[in-house]
Symmetry: C2
Subunit: 264 residues, 2 copies
């Protein structure tokens, strides 16, 4: 497989999609709802996913596509090449803020992340990585992450996980919030993973993420030495929804060992 | 008082300070700590505050200055003109992220906010308002805020206020997090107030803010119709630290009435 060629192809596709999103702000955004009111989806999400899928199917007919909006393939195994796409990660930000959302794309071969992309469209910040080739923000290579003690760590975690919930005991999460230096929440897993890659967040965790939220970001943060697993400490399955953490080495073990107690 | 002249003067001063901050990134940032490890302060905070104070004292010798770093005046009354300054709001972001911090300045006359400024230095986003003249982001006038129901509101609130704390009962805050559409936390009161002004956050609340965190932002959000008070619902005192909320009309009453229970 010529990953250099696929890398150039992907970058070009993502930049074109970003341009389409920016011009689409000129017209009214039609807001629809999926399962519940918090899960906003827009015409633009769907249009952008269909744009990606039509191009990838034309140019790589034997690859499969797993996309948030469901226009891709029904993917039940890791075999072959799978493009894992979120056309607009952070849809609530997209609707409410018209910024702070990202295109997220990971390209996996037999379950191994080969290419990763996060494009913060409105900031025009493009994070990208080829497996084994380091991670970049635009043209700048991102340095390897050094260990940081929890007391000096800024952690991406949403307030909802500090409330009683069905995934983790919230009492240890309260201790985590109190023991770290500070917490942030940006409303886009992809953007929070970009912050981890750039050293702006020392860890990011969430209790309910889909493959397309983290497929691109996992490749990128892995290239700068962050550890990514589910909250049991096992490799995150790229075919199902579940828990997730990305953190600097050392900090990952501290958080999982001392602050996470899963309910199931 | 020629507020138009002071407005032009302030904008010019803030832009020059922003430039000084950007060039200072070229040299090493010396990180010091004040009361505790979470309260970071840098050489640059102090240098920028002294830059403002030396200029304002030279050009407005009968005005007083209240600044975070303490180089200003000891201000115990609201009489006359008071410049309330945070040279770098969001110091933790400044240190950890080198972005997402702001210069915050409010100019008050006998306790009334006349001029307000928030300059997101790295994004080069400048929010400004003259009392009665509307609020602007750069050259664009910000529209008046319409009421939003809580179920559709995105609220700026840090996870630490969902944990047990000495200011408010955290149980109603848990309900607030669960009843709204989503929460965000950006780590800078000034930037969160800019988001409220621009309609990107529907409310922002915190249990422990200083006058310089909110002096500029209060003027700006007031010009687009946001309601700002302390968490007792009373006018925020610009001379002391305390609780604070800024929210769209209606939402302000809902949050204070149903979700805030002060301990003192």
């Amino acid at each position: 497989m010529d990953w250099g060629m696929i890398d150039r192809y992907s970058k070009s596709l993502i930049k074109e999609a970003g341009h389409r999103i920016r011009v689409s702000f000129a017209r009214e955004i039609h807001i629809d709802t999926k399962d519940d009111a918090n899960d906003l989806v827009t015409d633009i999400d769907r249009d952008i996913e269909q744009f990606f899928i039509s191009r990838i199917r034309r140019d790589f007919p034997d690859h499969r596509i797993l996309g948030e909006e469901g226009f891709g393939d029904k993917v039940e195994t890791n075999d072959g090449v799978i493009w894992i796409l979120d056309p607009i990660d952070g849809t609530m930000n997209f609707v409410h803020q018209k910024r702070n959302f990202a295109i997220s794309l990971g390209v996996y071969a037999d379950g191994i992340g080969m290419l990763g992309y996060i494009y913060d469209v409105m900031a025009d910040d493009f994070y990208h990585a080829v497996r084994g080739g380091g991670a970049y923000r635009n043209d700048e290579r991102l340095p390897q992450l050094e260990p940081t003690p929890l007391a000096e760590a800024v952690i991406g975690v949403n307030a909802s996980w500090v409330c009683p919930n069905r995934y983790v005991d919230h009492e240890p999460v309260i201790r985590l919030v109190q023991d770290c230096r500070g917490t942030r929440s940006y409303g886009s897993a992809a953007i929070e993973l970009a912050h981890v890659a750039a050293g702006r967040l020392d860890a990011y965790l969430s209790m309910r993420l889909a493959p397309w939220d983290i497929a691109g970001g996992s490749v990128i943060v892995g290239e700068v030495g962050a550890v990514t697993t589910d909250l049991r400490g096992e490799e995150h399955d790229m075919l199902t929804k579940g828990t997730f953490i990305a953190a600097r080495p050392g900090l990952h073990e501290t958080i999982l060992g001392d602050y996470v107690r899963l309910k199931e």
